[in-house]
Subunit: 556 residues, 2 copies
């Protein structure tokens, strides 16, 4: 049942055996080079693991033996693959380092507990022996949330929760489920689906991320309009800390002061290790209706989303791509067909009087058949008021089928000297346009300034993926020619410019990726000195020696 | 615009001028005596303020002058009325003491700031001069949330926010509003309604409670199914602390770690004073449909609510009274009509084959006309499946019109030697029946054991007032003959027995009343030692000298 980690790429995304279906089509790469203002793309393959010389483990034999006494000898692992797999997360920044084999900092051992008691014993041991601990779920953080940082410690271990992957209970009366935190998305959904339920939490990392990870980084799945964010569906939990076990009440709501679950959601392993969680379920939807629409511009699409959210349209998902993303996706999708699809599309929209720079929207409506239909009609009426042209289900269904594939493309791009990263935020509707315009400008400028040659440029795309009555998220994807010398400095420059633009314009530093190491420099601005003081105080209560996940979440 | 506090009862509920329409009807009191197994009810009037000798203020003249320099001389008040009004909240326990004139502990002064800066200056002064501070909104806490406790201080002042009552901004794009925390419910709603919006937060204390109070005790209004709890509609806030100002981002959602607003919701003035808040709005509903139903028993009604919540029925409110509450309310309502209404009702239900011990449900459906209707039909279909008999709108409309009147009745009862208190919780659907049965039994036993004479008994009533897909709240109201000697000990015995039953059976110690002083003894069991350690740590970060609201929320 457990996921076979040796089949997952240690230095890229997903299954090692995954065949990238773009790879062979050279026409795509030629087109992409043109988009980036580059004469050609360069082969930049990753270094294989067996070529690398990793620093030796610094775990003392007596510590190794003590950890093995807690979890069993098989569950304390120090192989190069284990250590490299757990060295970093899966951000662009991480991949740059993993692919280059620049593994200065790795866990000295990876430990796989099988129970809350084992986690408690490991934490007690590490506290007593001053060993730093990196809590690890699926390891798909894109913000440096699982980087094997030593902090003030000479030795660090990763506690990998993936052996704690049991679905413990499904309470069909209260419609909740309790599971161990290391359960992966597909296994959790299989177990729930078998009883007619779903959690419905579908981040892009769904196949490779865990329940505990979703909670600890305060994530949101693609269908969050229907199923909610992690902090919404989280009912109760067990948190193993160096000071013992904390457990949150599973009452559906409480006025008994601030709630532990709200403090743990987003804590990123800095306070303790979530070992079990109880979550709210929904019934498996009877119907799932996917539709796509074209809008004359981003503003019309955005106004449609706002109107839909403020009129309580029961959508599961509404995603609106901006002009650049729409253009890029359509060209990318059609290029293998010699442009026929694109030409057809343009003609179709021209006939209907839509601009030639339209924005694509994908929306989904789920639940009881009648209600999904009624929500779809409700939404379509609103969209039509803003001049949308309905494109039917095809494009949206295609998106649904390939929804988890996009991250593989990043590996393929990185093989060819192309950088690709994402950055995301949320802001009130009032601020959204300003945040959008300034972040886009910051990204374009920073990419131009760090480009490896004159005339090279990036493609900056954005979509609204999650929305609320009072605001929405913005999700930027940017593709750019890698500076082959100093690619990490290039990434930092771009990241810094975009994040500063977000925060300065009133956006949050993250809507669903989290803080990790990458957003740490903006946390003081995000939270203020007292907000940070509160986080520090909580950490001190749960982890007085600061052994947990050094260098994440809380500025030093 | 500000509420004239001198027109509010200092030792009871609501407007001093309110005429209790039950008072003159002696038949009601005769019936009530019978219900309680008492031969007659005794006159137990409250002591008037001018008969009392209050302990003199301990505020030093130089402190008085310094506070006056911050807020103006008129805004530092030490009159007996001001001090007595702010001595306690409005729980049964508080009223026992207020009515007896047993005011051992009163604020030495009541200070009315007009801005966040003034609050900050007051807190800085009080910190520097070791003066305890009781933050005060409307003062309607029923859990001892505003008791003027000295803690470790020789002097305490109450900071009353009621002069900070401006609606600062309505953002109709983001559909949010920002207001000062001292604004009362009616003033806030008037301002929002004028722009076509509502917050929809309608606790029973609505007329006499404030925005800041709703947030700080993590409250829920009667219509919370539609409008959400305080922690749901709270978007952003300013928190004045002794260490300076903390401000929460107003992003609609964020993964930037645990959120300040979640820490402040339910903090009960222990961390700082909320001076401004930004809240999510809803449009004023086009239609408000109120209906009532009868069920053959509590189980059938409860199953209806669960099915409705789990099928996403868009209700604004569903309230289900148990057999005792239904019987008591029907008798009480009909007794003035010589029983005719009750007899008619019994006949009607008998004809329809419902039991003679039925349970009353009141439900409300709001929003766009078509959707409110559709929600009503959806709900009625489910209710019918569980054998409900629809009673039409009349009883529910009557409830709506008198929804804020019930607390006045408590004063009238206390005038006649009758005690009345409430206790509430929430639990998962799976636990709800057990919590219900055991709490009811604990209340009945404790009332019997503390009754002033052989054969005296209480009336214990309960309703489900707030519900969720995974559970619901239980709200007990109990009426009992007061032990005229030792009435506070009697209250404590009953409260303790019931609360222990709640917590031991997996209910939360409060669903929407809060913690205050009264629930403090159960907070360790509710949160666990680490949960409490986290609260203490946060308090220490925001209020290192512990001057704020001594003796509330966090066990010593």
């Amino acid at each position: 049942m457990a996921v076979d980690r040796t089949k997952i790429r240690w230095n890229g995304w997903g299954w090692a055996a995954h065949k990238d279906d773009v790879g062979p089509r050279e026409i795509v790469w030629t087109w992409l080079a043109g988009e980036l203002g580059m004469p050609a793309l360069l082969a930049t393959p990753p270094r294989p693991l067996d070529e690398l010389t990793l620093p030796p483990t610094k775990l003392f034999p007596e510590d190794h033996a003590a950890l093995a006494a807690i979890v069993g000898a098989d569950s304390v692992r120090c192989s190069p693959y284990e250590r490299a797999f757990h060295a970093l997360g899966r951000s662009y920044h991480d991949l740059l380092r993993l692919r280059a084999g620049a593994l200065e900092s790795l866990p000295d051992a990876v430990v796989y507990p099988r129970s809350t008691d084992e986690v408690l014993a490991l934490l007690a041991y590490c506290k007593a022996h001053r060993i730093g601990v990196i809590p690890f779920g699926g390891g798909t953080s894109v913000v440096g949330g699982v980087s094997a940082e030593y902090g003030n410690f000479d030795t660090i271990i990763t506690i990998d929760l993936s052996s704690m992957d049991r679905l413990l209970d499904v309470d069909s009366i209260s419609r909740t489920a309790t599971a161990e935190a290391g359960i992966y998305g597909p296994a959790l959904e299989r177990g729930l689906n078998a009883k007619g339920f779903t959690l419905g939490h579908l981040p892009q990392s769904f196949e490779f991320s865990t329940l505990g990870g979703w909670i600890c980084h305060r994530g949101a799945g693609q269908m969050s309009l229907r199923y909610g964010r992690a902090e919404d569906w989280l009912v109760g939990l067990k948190l193993a800390t160096t000071e013992g076990l904390a457990a949150a009440s599973d009452a559906p709501a409480s006025a008994a002061g601030p709630q532990l679950k709200d403090i743990v959601a987003g804590s990123e392993g800095s306070f303790g290790i979530v070992t079990e969680a109880t979550v709210r379920l929904m019934p498996l939807p009877e119907a799932s209706l996917y539709r796509s629409y074209m809008f004359r511009d981003f503003g019309a699409g955005s106004a449609t989303i706002r109107a839909a959210m403020q009129d309580d349209v029961a959508a599961s998902m509404i995603r609106l791509s901006d002009v650049e993303e729409t253009r890029f996706l359509r060209t990318y999708a059609s290029i293998g067909h010699a442009g026929s699809v694109q030409r057809f599309g343009d003609l179709y929209l021209k006939v209907r009087g839509i601009s030639r720079e339209p924005c694509l929207m994908i929306a989904a409506f789920e639940g009881r058949r009648m209600r999904a239909r009624s929500a779809l009609h409700h939404f379509s009426r609103i969209a039509a008021q803003y001049g949308a042209v309905s494109l039917g289900p095809r494009i949206a269904e295609r998106w649904r089928q390939t929804r988890f594939q996009a991250p593989y493309l990043r590996d393929a791009m990185m093989d060819r000297g192309v950088g690709v990263d994402t950055i995301e935020t949320a802001a009130s509707w009032m601020r959204l346009e300003t945040v959008y315009a300034n972040t886009r400008a910051a990204l374009e400028n920073a990419i131009r300034e760090t480009a490896p040659r004159e005339g090279a440029r990036g493609v900056v795309m954005c979509h609204i993926s999650h929305s609320y009555s009072d605001g929405a998220s913005l999700y930027f994807t940017y593709v750019f020619p890698r500076a082959l010398e100093g690619d990490i400095a290039q990434w930092k420059t771009i990241k810094k410019a975009a994040t500063q633009a977000i925060v300065d314009n009133g956006g949050t530093v993250s809507h669903h990726h989290g803080v990790g190491e990458d957003h740490l420099p903006w946390m003081m601005q995000e939270k203020g000195p007292l907000g940070i003081a509160a986080l520090r105080a909580i950490k001190k209560a749960f982890d007085p020696d600061g052994i947990l996940n050094p260098g994440k979440l809380i500025p030093p």
